[in-house]
Symmetry: C2
Subunit: 457 residues, 2 copies
């Protein structure tokens, strides 16, 4: 059971990487093969991600293309791009031959235009080539861009026995059978059945008799996130893809959906933190700066705005009231925190489709929620300011305006994402710096206005 434990407990150690680097250095190909063949291709990909480009390419060229094709898929996108640049059109085509159509299309799509055609022209299997070319025609983030052409298809008129005989052929090239899709003479999807149904059925039964006709499906142009939601909601492990005429085009399997869900979650998480999507901790400083600086600049502009507001207020405030300014960071922080909390919960609710009912209901609920939190927090602040400054009216002014600030911040945080969603803009951008910055400014204005009012300055 050793290998199993390797699989499950694989740890990428520096020793292992050094050993691989050494074997590459020594060009002791046999040992290298023996070492790496112990590992799952996903693990080998992790190793290659840590190697220098030359070493990685050396390993790719060394191993058999049925392994390396799988490794390529698992490589970090940046590394894969570099590796592919170091492979000849012929070599890439050989990898492509080994891959399922969806993975093959993904890899080819990453190549520069002129190389794409060169590689495709090198694919020997004409059917495989045609299928890949079809997949390349579908837009990103659609069901078509996720689906594979590999599937097991039977005609309603076949018998169970004939079906079993025939799908032996089809099944060979399909990694996982999942459902068997039933089509009519026009290749239109009309039902499904599982291998289990087939095995349990009598061999002389007609497919039409045992097929289930309630087959879920998606349209080739459906949004990939919607496909993910449907498959997750209905616990589907594969879903067929059809066109306007219900012709069966391909199928999407759950492993691709797991990736979509993870990407979506990562994107929202990064936006909430003020990072424009699609960077990793290991990206270059320039890439990370490109992702982070715009949001920081937004914050800077907001801060400058806050300064200008306070600057003008200062003229109207007498000396003794300047203490108000010492609380502006607190006010701004609270406005920002409340805004992020309320926007985040709405953004997540929208992502999970569990935000229903009217916008007004949401706003009223958030107002009550913010008011409740605001009152509790303001009570503490009131007591502190009163005890510290011995000025009742000042303590009152600051704590009352904190309540107002928290309520407004909560409402902005709730309204903005709902508004963006209605406008068809990704509400996730409404969390993080966007909300904190706008709330900083609103908060400080409201704070100073109310304080001024109460202090009767």
């Amino acid at each position: 059971m050793e290998e199993l434990q390797d699989n499950i407990q694989f740890q990428l150690t520096d020793e292992l990487i050094e050993k691989v680097e050494f074997l590459v250095e020594e060009q002791s190909d046999k040992e290298l093969k023996n070492l790496l063949n112990e590992f799952h291709y996903a693990d080998i990909a992790e190793i290659l991600d840590e190697l220098d480009l030359d070493d990685a390419v050396y390993v790719i060229k060394l191993l058999d293309s049925d392994t390396t094709s799988d490794i390529l898929i698992e490589l970090d996108e940046d590394n894969r791009e570099k590796v592919l640049q170091n492979l000849s059109v012929k070599e890439i085509a050989e990898e492509i031959e080994e891959l399922d159509t969806d993975d093959a299309a993904d890899i080819i799509a990453e190549l520069p235009q002129e190389r794409q055609e060169a590689v495709i022209s090198q694919i020997e299997d004409e059917e495989h080539k045609a299928e890949i070319q079809e997949l390349l025609t579908y837009d990103d983030n659609t069901a078509g861009s996720l689906m594979a052409k590999e599937l097991v298809k039977v005609y309603e008129t076949w018998t169970v026995a004939g079906c079993l005989r025939r799908i032996r052929g089809q099944a060979k090239e399909v990694t996982r059978v999942h459902s068997i899709y039933v089509v009519d003479k026009q290749e239109k999807l009309i039902g499904r059945l599982s291998l289990k149904d087939l095995i349990v059925a009598k061999s002389d039964q007609k497919i039409a008799e045992i097929a289930k006709d309630n087959v879920d499906y998606v349209h080739v142009n459906d949004d990939d996130e919607d496909v993910a939601k449907v498959m997750a909601k209905y616990d589907l492990e594969a879903i067929p893809v059809v066109d306007d005429t219900h012709t069966l085009l391909g199928r999407i399997t759950i492993d691709d959906i797991v990736d979509v869900l993870k990407e979506e979650a990562d994107k929202d998480y990064q936006l909430a933190a003020g990072i424009t999507q699609d960077v990793e901790a290991d990206d270059s400083i320039i890439e990370l700066t490109r992702a982070r600086l715009p949001w920081l600049f937004l914050g800077l502009v907001g801060g400058v705005g806050a300064f200008i507001i306070m600057f003008y207020f200062e003229d109207y405030l007498p000396e003794q009231a300047l203490i108000l300014f010492l609380f502006t960071p607190l006010i701004a922080a609270m406005a920002g925190n409340v805004g992020v909390q309320s926007s985040a919960i709405i953004v997540q609710g929208l992502a999970n489709d569990d935000v229903k009912g009217s916008v007004n209901k949401r706003l009223i609920k958030e107002m009550l929620l913010a008011a409740l939190n605001g009152v509790i927090l303001s009570l503490f602040l009131f007591l502190f300011v009163w005890a510290w400054t011995q000025k009742f009216d000042l303590a009152l002014a600051i704590s009352v305006s904190l309540i107002a600030v928290i309520i407004v911040a909560g409402l902005i945080g709730t309204f903005v994402p709902l508004f963006l969603e209605k406008r068809g803009i990704d509400p996730a951008i409404a969390t993080g710096p966007f909300i904190t910055t706008s709330n900083d400014i609103f908060g400080i204005v409201i704070y100073l206005l109310i304080a001024k009012l109460i202090l009767g300055i």
Copy 2:
């Protein structure tokens, strides 16, 4: 194809809900059944989530237990709890009979202790009962808590033909076969094969000949998030679960893993926004307050801290330098934003297992990154302050300290999550208010100190 379109395009409309409410009101059971039977159980669950408790219970009692058991699983946890309170022990037991062992155990685990035993004692199928009782013994968030006992198991000594004959029996009670697991006489997991392999194989071959021995598996006590990572990494749709002796105990399917991944992502996202995990937009104001108020209080304490710091600095600053205070919200905001950015990317990297290499390398990289961002931003701030105040030294003081603040904020944001991870604490708590608040304070201190230094006050 009508029903398919309902499935895929199901929209929860007010009309539909009102119609259901009306039919319940009228007690026109036949129409109600006909209406609901059109929908997938996951859709019916969405409808029930919108109904009053009484109406929901009425529908549950009306429909057949093979449907309602699936509906129960899909209901919002809060609603399910309420519904179960309104079902008799006998009724719950009937639902349990219909469910796979993993779902059955999850539902029973949600019941109060005394009801648990009452329900279990009512389960008629003795094997089902025993399996559920076994599953209830495993800790939350372990492989054991995710696995189901339903699986297809064959002995290495069987022939393909005998195997097919025998698994017809087992397969009936298994919703999805996925892999067939091969065990030896001691029930120890020694390999796997797919239904496809079985169908493609010759009927007189021995299982031992065609079985694959490189079967991934997890230990019953493995952490559920690790199981999710393994299944996602190796694109597994089901994985067997074994104990210390490699005895096959059960299996985990990908649909449960999708839920684990979503929950984990939601939790991190909420923590980043300063919301203690496990609330939804539709939870009560009290629940939401409990999840949000502690973080806001943290922010309040931080703000008070900032006030105290500024208060004491004020004594040392001459009139003309009070303008420094007008920039504290800007400084605090920048410190917070940078901190959240750098911590979020580390937290996400840790979650996705792609943060490798030494802590020092990370800190140095983040320092360079923050310095780069800081210089660019400070340049703008310098020009603004200089133009606005006509004071070169003031502009210099403020913008230089901004660079320092951004660097420190970036380092704190990078170090804290790495530190927490090493200590075995969920680094996700290090994002959001925790980082913004601590960075507000550090930021303001650094800012005022450096400004004081440069201004030579």
